[in-house]
């Protein structure tokens, strides 16, 4: 499949730990995977499998205690505009800036372009997510779905090497979520950007991703990598993909548990 092409992002044996007030918690243990250009790569796992922590490590906000993460064969050491994060929280837009200013701010803060040029590119991407009428609105006047659209537009306007999305639709209602998944795929058809997408919803993973990384819970370890064509296809075993994933993630876990308790 790779035909000797080097991966865009290589995660090699990454162990992540973080400290709470009185515990040292291992979030992921020796996780490895490769992402190639134009992948829609999904990290899927139950809550507590360290998938958000893993995404923040790719973003450069957390350093691995073991292993390394390389982007274009350069080790990641700090946050940077070549890896833009889209968060789950609606408050990721700065409330003191309008929709247009929020996007232009990202472009100027990173030194990518100057004011006027940034404004033009901001408008271009606002148009892409269908919010031209709201360009001069402040974020608090928008609905949750619209805010997430702006956040996605901001991420895409940066034209990063890889777009990192941390459960961006999790806080939306089911109807809006389905619509946003569709829109994201349409945007991908347009520009074929590379995206790393974290979710705990199996249907979302199957719909959005072309390759899905399955993580076990607490600490997260790789259980497998699965291909998806977005239609929840019936596999050779006669079951739809989502059911197979559910089986892989959960049935096995029940087995694990009885062993550890025995």
């Amino acid at each position: 499949m790779t035909n000797g092409v080097a991966p865009l992002l290589a995660v090699k044996g990454v162990t992540l730990q973080y400290q709470t007030r009185d515990h040292l918690v291992t979030a992921t243990y020796r996780v490895s995977f490769d992402i190639y250009r134009s992948d829609r790569y999904v990290i899927l796992g139950p809550s507590g499998c360290g998938k958000s922590t893993l995404l923040k490590a790719v973003g450069g906000f957390i350093r691995p205690v073991e292993g390394e993460i390389r982007l274009n064969d350069v080790a990641i050491s700090k946050p940077g505009p070549d890896r833009v994060l889209v968060f789950q929280e609606f408050d990721q837009l700065l409330p003191w800036k309008t929709v247009k200013q929020n996007i232009a701010f990202a472009l100027t803060a990173s030194g990518k372009m100057s004011g006027k040029e940034a404004g033009q590119r901001a408008l271009h991407y606002i148009d892409k997510v269908g919010l031209t009428k709201f360009a001069d609105n402040y974020p608090h006047t928008l609905s949750g779905g619209m805010k997430q659209r702006v956040a996605i537009a901001r991420g895409m306007a940066m034209e990063p090497e890889i777009l990192l999305m941390d459960e961006p639709f999790a806080a939306l209602d089911a109807l809006t979520r389905a619509k946003m998944q569709e829109e994201l795929l349409q945007l991908w058809d347009d520009t074929k950007f590379t995206v790393l997408f974290v979710t705990h919803s199996i249907t979302e993973a199957v719909r959005v991703g072309n390759r899905i990384l399955l993580l076990s819970a607490h600490p997260g370890q790789v259980k497998g990598e699965i291909n998806s064509n977005g239609t929840d296809e019936i596999g050779v075993d006669g079951r739809p993909l989502s059911e197979r994933i559910e089986h892989l993630l959960f049935e096995q876990q029940i087995g694990d548990r009885s062993i550890s308790h025995g």
């Binding site: 973003g59 906000f61 946050p79 940077g80 505009p81 890896r83 833009v84 994060l85 968060f87 929280e89 408050d91 990721q92 700065l94 409330p95 003191w96 701010f105 990202a106 803060a109 990173s110 030194g111 402040y138 974020p139 608090h140 006047t141 940066m158």
Partner: protein, 291 residues
Amino acid sequence: MADARPVLHARPEVIYQVSTAGIGVVQRPLSLGQRLANQGSLRKALVLAVLALLWEGYARWLGNDLLFPTFSATVAAFWQSVISGELPAATWYSMKILFQGYAAGLLLAGLLTAFASATRIGADLLEVLTAMFNPLPSIALLPLAMIWFGLGTGGIVFVLIHAVLWSVALNTHSGFRGVSPTWRMVGQNYGLSDLGYVVRILIPGAFPSILTGLKIGWAFAWRTLIAAELVFGANSGGGGLGWFIFQSKNSLEIPSVFAGLLTVILLGLIVENLIFLTAEKMTVRRWGMQH
């Protein structure tokens, strides 16, 4: 996948045609009266007018100009002092000192908060100092300040700094702490420099608290100044609004005392309603960070 469940109570399905005809009002503009009643400044002006009327009525009923002059007498005395230039001069005197103290206090608060945000020991220092000095009334430091800095404006400015510094520093610091972690990550994600991070993320993010600090600091400074002037004058030779009030009392010109107090109130109202309210409307309210 699951088997169909049995129907418990069989009922026919119902579907209605919805139309807006016959509802009367779906949306209509408010009447002039309703819109006027929605004006906050108008309602407040009404409250002020009622208070002035009550004052006038009570003072007339009392009929003792030495104890409680009427509103009209106070306004007359106010107008006279304004025309004679005495009151404007005293106000200007007070304002000059107030601004010196306020500005110096803000500067120091900025430095202290910057130190507190940058290091853990700085935060500890700020928290201990504020816990110690914030409850201490500034006016209690005045006798000491007079000994240290002499009877001139230096002593009063020192006391003013004390009045402003702690509340502003405390509010700014807690505001910085309250800045959402998501905004912080957004700032880091787009590669802002250290200074850019403070100016473009921390300060706007903490702006509601910073404004509150500025307002409290202003009120503390104003009160402290008038109290200090009442006792000592703006410098050893007198001057200032507090001094004007004190002198008028000494010469038993009670309407002038009230005129001085009225000036203090008016300035407070102007600063609160014009400067701070405008600042709020242009920033935190417009951004939906405060309602």
